[in-house]
Symmetry: C2
Subunit: 219 residues, 2 copies
């Protein structure tokens, strides 16, 4: 079964635990743009990504967004089972940024395995600590980095992620990632364009001078 | 032994695990103002607070600070053993805000127990998730709340924590908690004073109209 090779601590589970998971796991395809988890209402279960990309973000009362972290192939999505973790006291939204295939382990099965298995609980700890680290990075960014550096970092990350310098992305979506109003993004992108760093067309942002972007971050 | 009643999952550990901890745990007194953990250099071990108060914060390159969370009586301090958690990828500083008494479990003993014991690993998960929640709250605050509301919330928390309306605290220290320059704090406190909310004297901030502060937050 392909699933077993994707499940992180599979070989450290007991035969009974493995059987319980195998008997209850389901496979699901999530189309791009679909919301898989929204606040505390949802509790689909533990998700294990086969392929695709998920984005976790929070939203203000006014509907402003900021991206917290992303998940890729082979990543495990804990917060879609957050109803089973009573110390998780915040609302997060998780959406598919690309067409995504996941295995889903029901919340109660996930809880039972985590309660029994030290390797599983420790693996969850690693995930939690790594998300924690990402949020700490974000705090440092928004507290102490100016917006031009944050935008430069975002554009470089996106070009690496998409494998192209020509990003199909609107200024509003960039704003949603960075927690900033569209106007602020537009203003900074126009400045970048005047500096010969990017080229803007309707619906695209093309990075034409990546070294200059990198230099901007290091300054 | 008093220690056992402070250790969260003591009764769920095996006799061997209990013995290992009992044989290696030490008791330490930390004077107010002392730094117990600083970035990745330090790894004192898992700390369990008997009495006192610890503050965890991060620092910018320029020396600006922002408080991430605090620990009180009976709390467990994971990050003083962060060398044992490889996914913790950030530097945090932890200082004693009051005279503090802790039990310290050596890092390798902590690691061995966490690896073996599902209850211990799950307890760590709860702590991690609750700190994670605190940082998410902080992100929401700094992204979407204006500074007057953040300062109002801080003053109310402090008066509750210290059990007095007359806080012995400098504007610089308030700035360190909130990640803001001293001048910004002073300006806002003077505005609060002009509104009859606080009374300022050298080295103290007295909250004279708490209901008004609460109203400010709810607005």
């Amino acid at each position: 079964m392909e699933f077993e090779s994707y499940f992180p601590v599979w070989n450290q589970l007991t035969t009974e635990q493995q059987k319980l998971i195998s008997d209850t796991v389901t496979f699901r395809t999530i189309p791009k743009g679909h919301i898989v988890h929204n606040g505390s209402m949802d509790c689909a279960g533990l998700m294990l990504l086969r392929t695709g990309q998920l984005r976790a973000y929070i939203m203000s009362d006014e509907g402003r967004e900021i991206t917290i972290y992303r998940l890729f192939d082979m990543d495990m999505c804990l917060f879609t089972a957050s109803c089973m973790m009573r110390s998780v006291q915040f609302d997060i939204t998780i959406e598919a940024e690309k067409d995504t295939e996941v295995w889903v382990i029901p919340p109660d099965v996930f809880k039972k395995i985590a309660d029994e298995s030290a390797p599983m609980a420790n693996y969850m700890n690693e995930i939690m600590a790594s998300h924690f680290s990402e949020v700490m990075w974000l705090v440092e960014q928004i507290m102490w980095k100016s917006f031009d550096k944050r935008l430069a970092g975002f554009l470089l990350d996106e070009t690496a992620l998409e494998g192209t310098n020509k990003l199909k992305i609107t200024h509003e979506i960039i704003g949603n990632h960075l927690g900033t109003a569209r106007e602020v993004v537009t203003r900074m992108l126009r400045y970048f364009q005047s500096e010969g760093i990017v080229k803007l067309t309707r619906g695209t942002v093309e990075v034409v001078d990546a070294p200059k972007l990198k230099k901007l971050i290091e300054k």
